[in-house]
């Protein structure tokens, strides 16, 4: 067993994947020689050579677009967007090609490719370094969207993503890249895409979160459980396709639902989950489902960032309202 933090678990997943499968190639801005600005690809160029791990030109559309060509021609590209806020120049390639090549060619050509992006706030960064854009991908048919919240899950999910026959958007909560360590097996293992994880069971309320919000939500739940409430926490892990069954079963048991996310509120991911609950467990609902989210503003620079996304106090206060409704 290794003991790794989340970013180390990702490096390790890339390492074992490159070792196991010669068709895996890894590239992106600063990904080669220096090993990426977060060091996710550290050591890979030295170990696997410049052909399989390299610095791309500074052009996201080229990174994704050339990756699509490689994937069609037998490679498994795992590319990095330096920050998710910089994926926009490559968005055309993601939506109009990566997501559609299989359908367009009726299965003749496919794009087994992973697009890794650090995402989310909380790191006191410059503009465009804190985006939570999961909806843009999750609303696009043809893509899968995965977000791990622990080192163990990060490795298992990334390996699943690499083995997946379709393009996977792999969003990494950079705020918790180095937040904590966990035992992680040395060898290859996978965690299925499309399966949520019940982090803890509970009877009075179902709360769904993912990425960095899982830990915040856990802390809020601890406060509330001390007050005598029993709360079920689900780590969604896969944003698309959603594990409907797990969510609905949970709400059928608890009768109450809340979702916590960093993305903007309006037309955000929480709306989809609440709608799914409406569709699958309406008669079980004892209180209006609630979303605890960032506000619909531009993500503030560091001196204002604390106003933006949910923190433990806000989550606690809001969850209490659902429980006490």
């Amino acid at each position: 067993m290794l003991v790794l933090n989340l970013i180390e678990a990702i490096t390790n997943a890339l390492d074992v994947a490159m070792d196991f499968d010669k068709s895996v190639v890894v590239f992106g801005e600063d990904v080669g020689f220096e090993g990426g600005v977060f060091r996710a690809t550290k050591g890979l160029q030295a170990k696997y050579g410049e052909d399989r791990c390299f610095d791309s030109i500074l052009a996201e559309s080229s990174i994704i677009g050339s990756g699509i060509g490689m994937a069609i021609n037998g490679l498994k590209p795992v590319v990095e967007m330096q920050f998710s806020g910089f994926m926009f120049p490559g968005f055309n390639q993601i939506v109009t090609h990566a997501a559609r090549m299989r359908n367009r060619s009726r299965g003749l050509y496919t794009v087994p490719m992973v697009i890794r992006m650090p995402y989310g706030g909380g790191v006191r960064a410059l503009e465009h370094h804190s985006e939570s854009l999961e909806v843009l991908f999750a609303h696009t048919p043809g893509l899968k969207v995965v977000i791990p919240s622990t080192p163990y899950d990060a490795k298992g999910l990334l390996l699943s993503a690499i083995m997946d026959p379709d393009p996977v958007i792999f969003l990494e909560p950079k705020r918790i890249y180095r937040a904590f360590k966990q035992e992680v097996p040395e060898e290859i293992y996978t965690i299925p895409i499309g399966k949520a994880k019940v982090v803890k069971e509970g009877m009075d309320l179902t709360v769904v979160a993912w990425g960095a919000m899982v830990k915040e939500t856990q802390k809020a739940i601890e406060v509330l459980e001390k007050e005598g409430h029993s709360i079920e926490l689900i780590d969604l892990r896969t944003i698309s396709p959603i594990d409907k069954a797990t969510l609905i079963q949970s709400v059928q048991k608890t009768g109450r639902f809340a979702v916590v996310h960093e993305a903007a509120k309006s037309y955000g991911p929480g709306a989809e989950l609440i709608t799914i609950i409406n569709e699958g467990a309406f008669l079980y609902l004892e209180a209006p489902p609630m979303r605890i989210t960032s506000v619909d503003t531009i993500i503030p620079l560091p001196k204002g960032e604390h106003h933006y996304s949910p923190n433990v106090e806000l989550i606690t206060s809001e969850l209490r309202q659902v429980i006490e409704y």
Binding site: S56, G65, N73, R106, L108, T110
Partner: protein
């Protein structure tokens, strides 16, 4: 021969066969067997027939949108003939000649334009990516195709086609730069047909040639008479061979003209004079090739007539069978979004199916 010292800032465009069907540069004339010459000519002729027929079907209301290639047959077939069967092609949407030359069944091509994705599913051996509508985006795929070939130890070249309009997109720039930096086995062919829908070539770029854009990537760039099938063949062949030897990418500008409409939904009389089109008809790529073949005794009026007749019949029959092909079944819409339907897609599929059942459809 053409590429080493090419200077697209000043060079005249490469021409071997002039509009009268005369070989004006015998020293450049590629060595092509009669068999290959006839395959090239027949493909161009077939392409022309298809374009004429589809126009007719369109007028009869039997056709959806279709992008004719009229006038660009030499650009397409001349270049296609210079690439190997295992070489990759990343096309835009106006490359009928390339598809046909590389062995795509006309049935599939018609099926696609008829509004059924199944048309793009053909033998892997054709090695052409599906039609790519987002302008210039396919060029990026070509770089990745070539990169992968090299990594796998294969010497296949990847050829991308793009229009004069497409040179304005950021993807054009990025793909050329990637290929240059990574020295990938790519050939980029600009079909400069003078128009992007109604927008003239001069509006896309102030440069003398489109080929000179290669200078921004330290890559050979060359302008070729795109209506001259031999020039297109010879230059593409040199570029492809060069790429295959690992000597890097090339940018070729095929100078040609779109004689037809942009697509069947376009009315070119809104933005250009018939007299301009007339001038270009005199440079028809097909006419000059046929004159050459006649002059060599490789082809005769009788053969021409018989071929056109037979192929017209073939096109007609193929189109009619596509017309009979019916609607896309519901499952096809769901089956290719992912390798396996997600539970949500499965549920949506069942819902739609149940709805059809209820409605008695």
């Amino acid at each position: 021969m053409f590429l080493e010292n090419a200077n697209p800032l000043v060079d005249e465009m490469i021409q071997i066969l002039n509009p009268k069907g005369e070989v004006v540069k015998p020293e450049w004339m590629p060595e092509l067997s009669k068999e290959v010459l006839l395959k090239m000519y027949k493909t161009m002729r077939l392409s022309r027939i298809i374009d004429e027929k589809t126009l007719q079907y369109q007028r009869q209301g039997r056709m959806l949108t279709y992008a004719p290639n009229l006038g660009q047959e030499a650009t397409q077939v001349g270049s296609a003939a210079a690439i190997r069967q295992t070489d990759w092609v990343a096309p835009s949407f106006r490359e009928l000649g390339v598809w046909l030359y590389k062995g795509a069944p006309l049935y599939n091509i018609f099926l696609y334009w008829f509004g059924n994705e199944m048309g793009m599913k053909m033998s892997e051996d054709v090695r052409i990516l599906p039609i790519s509508v987002p302008i210039a985006s396919q060029m990026q795929h070509a770089t990745g195709l070539a990169y992968a070939s090299r990594l796998k130890g294969e010497d296949d070249v990847a050829v991308a086609y793009v229009g004069d309009g497409g040179t304005s997109q950021g993807d054009f720039h990025e793909a050329l730069n990637f290929a240059s930096v990574k020295n990938t086995a790519n050939v980029f062919i600009i079909q400069n047909n003078q128009f992007a829908i109604s927008t003239r070539r001069a509006i896309q770029s102030k440069t003398r040639t489109m080929a000179q854009k290669a200078l921004g990537y330290s890559m050979p760039g060359i302008q070729v008479d795109g209506n001259d099938v031999f020039a297109m063949y010879a230059v593409t062949k040199e570029a492809v061979d060069r790429a295959r030897r690992g000597e890097g990418p090339t940018l070729i500008e095929a100078y040609t003209y779109r004689l037809g409409a942009h697509t069947t939904s376009d009315d070119p009389t809104v933005y250009r004079e018939e007299s301009e089109v007339e001038e270009w008809r005199k440079k028809d790529p097909l006419d000059r090739f046929r004159i050459y073949l006649y002059s060599q005794g490789f082809w005769s009026e009788a053969e021409e007539e018989a071929y056109v007749k037979a192929q017209s019949e073939f096109v007609k029959e193929t189109f009619e069978s596509v017309e009979q092909s019916g609607m896309t079944p519901l499952e096809d819409v769901f089956d290719y979004v992912y390798a396996e339907k997600t539970p949500i897609l499965e549920a949506q599929y069942q819902e739609r199916k149940a709805f059809y059942a209820k409605e008695g459809k």
